[in-house]
Symmetry: C2
């Protein structure tokens, strides 16, 4: 899957990410991955739910993975944060 | 799976839920489900990650499901919130 079918969810309103995902599907993507870290994880789940329940009924959740990523703080300490990847698939 | 192997993650510190899950496994549970709604979803992911990476290395993620639940507000309106269920399994 090309890397440009990935939506990174951050602190913007959910609808921004929903529209980004819907746009990618409407431009022909068969799969879109929604990724987030830390507190944005809840928003990534919201994004996936809104895409499949309100916009594209033929999109399903193919797989969900969670993990832990290690980030460097400004001081050079390492901080562990949880991450999520939600793989959405359009069933044509 | 009996309902008492479910940990509901809310607003307490992550370690509370981690210890609840570890205790259930140590009391013999083969599977523990971690559930959360709304903003607590990130904390549910943290809980699963800490359990399997720091406490019980033989615990793996069996399945992850996300969904949408409808809650009634005090005024009687219905509000939709995202939910997550993380199914953890101990590999004996």
């Amino acid at each position: 899957m090309p890397e440009d079918n990935v939506i990174y969810v951050g602190n913007k309103p959910v609808m921004n990410y929903v529209l980004a995902a819907v746009t990618q599907f409407n431009e022909g993507a068969k799969e879109v991955t929604i990724k987030a870290r830390g507190r944005a994880i809840s928003r990534a789940v919201d994004t996936a739910e809104v895409v499949r329940n309100r916009f594209l009924m033929d999109v399903t959740i193919d797989k969900i993975q969670i993990g832990t990523e290690e980030l460097k703080s400004e001081k050079g300490d390492s901080i562990k944060v949880s991450s999520i990847e939600i793989f959405l698939k359009r069933n044509v």
